[in-house]
């Protein structure tokens, strides 16, 4: 018997934009589901394939690397296929195009849904309703379909219509106010996508649970994830402290909510590569034994061997002084040397890696975290991140490099939906089938 991937045989229609939904379908795709992205040559979804269809080289150069760091700093003929913010989330997926604002496009979408198990979407509330894509409509094509909708604040309640990316709902859920430096105001909080990570992973989980339920009962369901509600898990201890004591969490930077001391990020010797000017090591001492390990690792300097510092309570009373002294010591160290030195003494520590250095780390290389892939259009071969869950008997591999828009038009129209040559040609003639955006799109 041939071994099959965990979700082999499951087909997922991907109507997602930006991060959260796209991450959900990535996890499903890595696990073996056939994920088909539905794209529209007449609609450039906000950000998802880039803010502009055709940014100039100069414009791209003025953008931060996340938005403008195209291959060889050249947006090329089809920049939407290689937008650095999203490209890595498109591996193992298929893509086809259809203008589903038109009735005949909706019918193509319906036929695809009839052959699918789940639909994932995370558009702004009402976006799909305006197009006529409701759960009731899906069920006309496939009675037991599973659908997940990931509106930022859910489909009911006063904020149902509020638009948000992960950063906004994270603010509403309290995260932005309570992360960051204790001595700087929250305007220094960097916009991050942790809400998207969590919502994406949990949406993949929700779809799998609903498929599990369907396998047993024969019924599909419409899942609702309010991403804001979902994000609350990241603040679990804050919510529990509020529940138990009515207290608000404080911003404490890299210190520990559990009082582990010391806990911080300390400077190391600057790198010798022009690119890298600041290097840091994180250290978090979670027990008195680990403190002893740290003291020995530092060569047992007199200040550190004081009996008053042997207990966490004692250390917390002198937290700032301890941090300053550790920082003075770490400064002379190479971050990797210090990482191994501290771990050899049983102290939790690690270098803070930036995106340029992750590739060369021995762990990263041993685990095959990155792998060369050659996307469509011969833009070259680059190291992309690979599936991160390890299933030894059913290995999750990369069978499709980050997909280009419309790369699987032939497959979807001809093989999957069984349109004749003449019908397929008709869809082409009427603009549904394309690997480029329509000329009307800037």
């Amino acid at each position: 018997m041939t071994v099959r991937l965990p979700l082999e045989g499951v087909r997922v229609v991907d109507l997602c934009v930006v991060w959260a939904g796209t991450f959900a379908t990535l996890l499903l795709a890595d696990l073996g589901a056939e994920v088909i992205k539905v794209e529209n040559p007449f609609v450039l979804p906000p950000m998802t394939r880039g803010a502009l269809a055709h940014p100039s080289k100069e414009y791209a150069a003025a953008l931060p690397p996340a938005a403008g760091g195209y291959p060889n700093n050249d947006p090329g003929a089809r920049p939407w296929n290689v937008h650095p913010t999203f490209v890595s989330l498109y591996r193992n997926k298929k893509s086809f195009t259809v203008d589903w604002r038109r009735p005949e496009g909706m019918e193509v979408l319906g036929k695809l849904i009839a052959k699918s198990d789940a639909v994932v979407e995370n558009n702004a509330t009402e976006t799909l309703e305006r197009l006529g894509v409701t759960y009731e409509w899906l069920r006309q094509w496939r009675d037991d379909i599973v659908m997940i909708r990931m509106a930022a604040y859910g489909s009911s309640g006063p904020y149902a219509q509020a638009r948000a990316l992960g950063v906004h709902l994270e603010s509403v859920m309290g995260h932005t106010l309570i992360r960051g430096y204790d001595d700087l105001d929250p305007t220094t909080s960097t916009p991050i996508f942790s809400g998207d990570y969590l919502a994406g992973a949990q949406s993949a989980l929700a779809v799998m649970m609903a498929l599990w339920h369907r396998d047993r009962t024969g019924e599909g369901q419409l899942i609702e994830m309010a991403q804001a509600e979902n994000a609350s898990a990241m603040l679990a201890q804050g919510f529990m402290d509020y529940a138990l004591n009515g207290r608000e969490p404080e911003r404490i930077g890299n210190r520990s909510i559990y009082g582990f001391c010391p806990s911080g990020v300390f400077p190391c010797r600057g790198g010798d590569v022009a690119l890298v000017e600041d290097r840091w090591v994180s250290i978090c001492v979670t027990s008195d034994d680990e403190w002893h390990g740290l003291v020995v690792a530092m060569g047992s300097p007199e200040w550190a061997t004081a009996a008053s510092l042997a207990s966490q309570t004692g250390r917390r009373a002198q937290e700032a002084e301890i941090e300053a002294a550790i920082g003075a010591w770490t400064k002379g160290w190479d971050d990797y040397d210090l990482f191994h030195h501290l771990q050899a003494h049983g102290v939790p520590a690690a270098p803070i890696l930036d995106g340029t250095r992750a590739f060369d780390d021995p762990h990263v290389q041993a685990r095959g975290v990155y792998q060369p892939m050659t996307p469509f259009d011969q833009i070259g071969t680059y190291r992309f991140v690979t599936p991160f869950l390890r299933f030894p008997a059913t290995p999750l591999t990369v069978h499709q490099p980050p997909v280009a828009m419309g790369e699987h038009n032939d497959y979807v129209y001809r093989e999957l939906l069984d349109y004749s040559e003449a019908e397929y040609q008709g869809f082409k003639d009427r603009g549904h089938v394309s690997m480029d955006f329509d000329a009307s799109i800037a």
């Binding site: 803010a51 003025a62 403008g68 603010s171 916009p191 138990l244 608000e248 994180s282 771990q343 991160f388």
Partner: protein, 399 residues
Amino acid sequence: MPGPLTGVRILDLTVGIAGPYATKLLADYGAGVLKVEPPGGDLSRRLGPFRADTPNPEASGTFLYFNTNKRSLMIDLKRPAGVEALLRLAATVDLVVESFRPGVLDRLGAGFAALNARKPSLSLVSVTNFGQDSPYRDYKGTDLTLYGFGGEMYTMGVAEREPVKMYGTAALVETGASAAVAAMGALFVSQRQGIGQHVDVSIVDSHLGGADRRHVSAIAYEFSGRKTPRTPVNARAVLRGPYPCADGYVELTGAGARLDRFAKMLGNPEWLADPKWYRTGALLDSELGEELEANFYPWLYAHTKREIWAKAQEARVLCGPLLTIDEIARDEHFRARGFWARLDHPVAGQIEMPGRPFILPKSPWELRRPPPLLGQHTVEILREAGLDDAEITAVTEVS
């Protein structure tokens, strides 16, 4: 109404945050999770927050949050009777999840091979810092060190200072969600193909490959040779990030292609009618950016965060107020949606805590039972696994 995983039995050997969050998710949706605790209990029972800061292993806020709907049995795996009981239990479950350091379970005689020998379709999901075969497999880690290494913490904060992490254990919670996905994947393979396997979830890898920015800074560098830095205090992007206002802060993403929406939010002021603002890339010009902000700040300080959010919604600008926990707890939106769950716990009392992460209408999330007391269900679980009284005594007697 039963959850989707009703009837699925999971043996849970995890402690701390990431592993317990994964099994909590499964338990909250109906799986029967048997939490095996060592003598003394899950280490999170010793972490706070505690009511009035008085430690009590039965009422740790962390433990309560991450262990809803589970049953607890206390087993000393350093004793042969404990290991044998664990293996007997393994034969009655659909999945085992653990978070020991790599190799520890093997040395105890309860590794994947031993578990799988009792039931060939049984999988083991391991949640560890670096993974089973990493050169750093024995290295210690915490939310801070693992996120700093694998996640995109380097670019968080300001250039003048050290990188700064997310709140609390947010990074471990993210991994926990991924580990729950891994657990479902393992269950599907067991169920559909009868294959058991040792699934390896690395906390660090879950951030290297997760959705939050590390994949972006890496591929942007690989593509273009450009490094993503932390931003200097006074050089942040225009109209992107938190802004101060009359009573706090709002997060705003108002630049890009839709500056017309931003103008609408401000009531289309005259100064913003000038075509110079609407040229592609205008806000990348630092002088124009400064001019815009100089006009914007007085408006911000004249409005509260809720007023700004309401105007932003009308104008379809991406925005969100920075709310406090207290404001969230009182917020009418989450109240109206029935988000909060009420926990009734024999030691901690009545607590209102965040509820479902997502709504499965036909097989819902539910607080079916409170987080367990240490070893509360030892005898009943061992009896379910078919151990007789003498065998149960051998497991439970204090050595």
